[in-house]
Symmetry: C2
Subunit: 472 residues, 2 copies
C-alpha cells in the first residue's frame, strides 16, 4: 500500500491524535471547558489528555498545567476553548510547543466581523509560520467514534461505531444533529468534522480524509459557503466513485447569504453554479437536514439497486395510488410484473380483486391473514426479475400486531441486492413498534411515501453515478 | 336563522342519525361486522343501534334482528357490511324499510371492474327509486366526534372533539390516518367522512355539510378523482371564505390514475386543470398526507398573520441561515426589525455578537441564561410592529432542560394575533419533551425548518385568500 497523500496526513492530528492538550479546561460545571473535558474522559479516549488552566492543579483526576509549554511531553493537538481575546497568546504558546494542529472552539472571529476578522487573520499568520494546522475557529470540532476522541463541548452520549461521516460548517447545529442521529436514527456516525469558519482546513480536505477512511461508507455534508470550489469538486469527483456524498448547502438566497456571513463568515457562492456542479459531479444535493438523514439512512442500511423498476405493495389502496404517483414524479418506473408473479398472486386473492403493480394487499390479508400476506406480497415482488427494488406501504390498527421481522427477515435475506423501504401509518405506539422492528432488520421506514420513494430514487441515481464514473 | 339547504339535510342521516341498523353485525371477533358494533357501543353513541344478522339473537347485549324489516322502529341509517353479492338484496330490504341513507362498507363494486361496476349501478338504481342516499360503497364511512357516531369497522379509540374535518376517498387509509392524528398530532378531528367510490355522495356535498358545521374550522381532503368538478369548486369557493381547505389529490400521474381506477374506480381528471382551479379557488393543495397534517396542525392551533414578515430566532447559526433561505424561497419576508428592537437586543449580548433578523440567540444564552434568552428573543420579535409572525429554531442538548411553557406562555398570550411555529433538534427524548410542552401551549413544532416555514406561509396565503374573497 502506498503512503496516503500529505493532506490526509495533515488531517490525522485532528482525528487520531495520540496526545491532546485542552487549553481552557475547567472544573466549573457551568463552563464549556468542563463539558469538553468530561466528554474526553467519559467517552474513554485512550490517548493522553493534558488539561491546561493556570488556576487549578487537577481536573477530573487529570494533572493540570498552567500553560501548554509546561507539559513535559509531546502534544499532537491543542484544543482551544478560551475567550477570543486570549486565543492569539495561546496560539503563540502552541507554536512554541510545536503542536501539529489546533482546534479552536472559541467564537468571536471572522463571523463577528471587524476585530474578529483581524483576529482570525492573526491566528492563521502564527499557524502558518509554525506549520500548525487549524480547525475552526467557531466550531465544536471533532467526534470520532473509532477511537472515542472528541473536541465537542456539548455533552455526548457513549459513541457507537457507524458508517456515516458528517462534515458540518457549524458547531451547535452539528452537535444537536449528532444527538438526533444517535437517538432517533437507525444508523450510526463514524466521524463528525465540524469545520467552523474554515480558516484553514476546509471541506475538500475533510473529504479527502474521509475518502481513505475505511470505516466511512457514506458522507453527509452541511455547508454554507465553499472555500475552494475547484478543489472541493475535484476531491468529490474521486470520492463519489466509491462513497455517496449528500450535501445540504444553505445560504442559497440573498437573506440566507447575509445570515451566513454573520454565522461562519462564509464566502458566498452562486447557487445555480453550485447546483450545476453538484449534478455534474454526482454529489446528491438535498434541501435540508431532514432529507440528509433520510438519504444517509437508506445508504447506510440498503444495497444499490440494479435499475429503477419499483415493486409497490400496499395494505391500503390509497397507498398504491400515492406510491405510483411518487415513482412517476421521481424518475422511478413501476415494474411490469412477470406473468408468473401475477398468476401466483391471483391464486391467493378473491376473483374480484385486481392483481397488478402497485399491488393492493388488502384482499390477501383477508384470504391468508396478515403474516402470510406480508411475506407473500414482498417475496412475490422481490423474486420477480422485472423488479429492482420495492416499497412496502403499511397501515396498522389495533386489530392485529405481529412480529414482522420473523415474517419477512428470511425473505429479505434471499434478495440481498434488492433494496426495500417502507412507510407506515396508524396509532403512534404501533407505528413506533413496527419502525423499530423493521429498522432493526435494516429496512428504513419513512414518515411519508414521498420520502420512501425519494430514498429509492437516490439509491438508483447514485448507482448511475457510479456506473458513469466507471466508464469515464 | 334560515333553514340549511336541502343537500345539507341529505347528509344529516349519515352524520347525525338517531337510529342505525347494522346489517352484517357479528359477534365473531374476527369479523369487521363485529368491530363496527364494538365501536358503536364502546364509543358511546347515544342513538338507537339495531344489529341485523339472521344467525344470532344478541350482539354485545343488543337485540339482533334477522332482517332490517323486522325492526319494529324507524331506522334513519343502515350500515351495510355484508359480502358484495348480498348487498343488492339488503338494498331492496332497506328500500322497503324506508331508511334515509345507507353506508355501504363492503367492497367489490366499481373499483373491482366488470361485475362490480354493474353491481354498483344496480345499487344506485334501487337507491334512487327509493329516495335513499348512499355513502360508499367501499368505505369505512363516518366518524363523528360530536356525537360519538361511527360506521368504521377499524377499532377506534375514545374520540376527542376537535376542529379539523377530514374527507377521504379511501377507507383503510382514512382509518389509519385517523389513528395517527389522534395519537401523534396535537389537534383533534371533529368529523371524518370516508367517501369510498362516491356512487352518490361526493366531495362537494360533504364540503357543503362541513361548511355549515359549527365545530369544523379546518377541512382536510384526500381525493383521487373528482365526480363533479364544477359543483366541488363552487362549494369550495364559498367555504374558503371562512374555513381553509387543504387537499391532497393523488392520481396525478398516469400510473397513479391506473392504480386509482382499481382502488376507487375514480374518474381521471387532468392534473394541471385541477391544480389551476385549486389556485384560483384558494384551495391549499399539498403533495402528500404529511403536508396535510402539517398544515391542519398550524390552522388548528394558530391565528392568521396580518402579513408575511417573519421574525426568526434561532439557537444555532445554521438555523438562522436555513430559516432565511426557506422564507426567501416560500414567499415570506424577513422582517426588518425596528431600531428599538435592535437596540434592546444589543443591550443584552456581548459587543462582538451580531444583532439582526434572523437573530442568533446563542450569545444571549451565554449572557442571560436559557430561560431569559428564549423569552427575550421571542418577546422582542413579537412586540416589534414590523413582525407579523415568528419561527423559533431550537437546538437542545443534555446541558440544560427547562420548563419552556412557564417561560414563554405569558409572552405568547400578549400577542394573540401573531402566529408562532417552532423547530427543534437534539436528543430524541428531549425533543419529544419540548414538542410536548410547546404543542401543549399550541405552538406547532415541525421536524424541519422547511416545514415550519411552510406552515407560516400557508397561514399567510390563506389570509390573502380570505381578503380577496371579502373584496369580491
Amino acid at each position: 500500500m502506498s503512503a496516503p497523500p500529505p493532506r490526509v496526513n495533515g488531517m490525522r492530528c485532528f482525528l487520531e491524535p495520540s496526545s491532546v492538550a485542552v487549553v481552557g479546561a475547567s472544573h466549573n460545571t457551568m463552563k464549556f471547558g468542563h463539558f469538553l473535558m468530561r466528554n474526553l474522559v467519559e467517552l474513554g479516549f485512550e490517548g493522553k489528555v493534558y488539561p491546561v488552566n493556570p488556576n487549578t492543579e487537577d481536573i477530573l483526576g487529570l494533572k493540570t498545567y498552567p500553560n501548554i509549554n509546561h507539559i513535559p511531553h509531546d502534544v499532537d493537538l491543542a484544543v482551544i476553548i478560551v475567550p477570543a481575546e486570549q486565543v492569539l497568546q495561546v496560539m503563540r504558546d502552541c507554536s512554541q510547543k510545536h503542536v501539529k494542529g489546533v482546534v479552536i472552539c472559541s467564537s468571536g472571529f471572522r463571523e463577528a466581523g471587524g476585530e474578529g476578522i483581524k483576529r482570525e487573520e492573526a491566528v492563521i499568520e502564527i499557524a502558518e509560520k509554525a506549520g500548525i494546522r487549524v480547525l475552526g475557529p467557531n466550531t465544536t470540532g471533532i467526534v470520532n467514534a473509532s477511537n472515542n476522541f472528541t473536541t465537542s463541548f456539548i455533552p455526548l452520549p457513549k459513541l457507537r461505531k457507524g458508517s456515516v461521516a458528517f462534515i458540518a460548517q457549524t458547531g451547535l447545529f452539528a452537535a444537536a444533529a449528532f444527538w438526533w442521529i444517535l437517538t432517533a436514527q437507525p444508523f450510526d456516525l463514524t466521524k463528525v468534522i465540524g469545520l467552523g469558519n474554515k480558516s484553514d482546513v476546509d471541506d475538500a480536505e475533510a473529504l479527502e480524509y474521509l475518502a481513505q477512511d475505511e470505516e466511512t461508507k457514506v458522507i453527509a455534508i452541511y455547508m454554507e459557503g465553499i472555500k475552494d470550489g475547484p478543489r472541493f469538486f475535484k476531491a468529490a469527483q474521486e470520492v463519489v466513485k466509491s462513497k455517496p456524498i449528500i450535501v445540504v448547502k444553505s445560504g442559497r438566497s440573498e437573506s440566507g447569504k447575509n445570515a451566513s456571513r454573520s454565522h461562519t463568515g462564509s464566502l458566498a457562492v452562486r447557487d445555480e453554479i453550485f447546483d450545476a456542479v453538484c449534478k455534474q459531479t454526482g454529489i446528491i444535493r438535498v434541501r435540508e437536514f431532514e432529507d440528509l438523514t433520510d438519504l444517509a439512512k437508506v445508504f447506510a442500511l440498503q444495497p444499490l439497486p440494479a435499475g429503477n423498476r419499483v415493486g409497490i405493495a400496499s395494505i391500503t389502496g390509497a397507498g398504491c395510488v400515492m406510491a405510483a404517483d411518487e415513482c412517476a414524479e421521481q424518475g422511478m418506473e413501476i415494474a411490469r410484473l412477470s406473468t408468473g408473479t401475477l398468476d401466483k398472486l391471483r391464486s391467493y386473492v378473491p376473483s374480484w380483486a385486481t392483481v397488478a403493480n402497485p399491488f393492493d394487499t388488502e384482499p390477501l390479508f383477508e384470504s391468508v391473514g396478515p403474516e402470510s400476506a406480508v411475506t407473500l406480497a414482498l417475496e412475490s415482488m422481490l423474486e420477480d426479475e422485472n423488479v429492482d427494488c420495492a416499497i412496502f406501504v403499511l397501515a396498522t390498527s389495533p386489530v392485529f400486531k405481529f412480529d414482522i421481522n420473523n415474517v419477512i427477515s428470511d425473505v429479505l435475506k434471499k434478495y440481498p441486492k434488492k433494496p426495500v423501504v417502507s412507510h407506515i401509518i396508524g396509532p403512534k405506539d404501533l407505528v413506533d413498534y413496527y419502525v423499530h422492528q423493521l429498522e432493526g432488520i435494516k429496512i428504513p421506514v419513512y414518515p411519508s411515501i414521498k420520502r420512501g420513494v425519494s430514498a429509492l430514487a437516490a439509491l438508483y441515481k447514485y448507482r448511475m453515478t457510479q456506473k458513469r464514473a466507471a466508464r469515464d
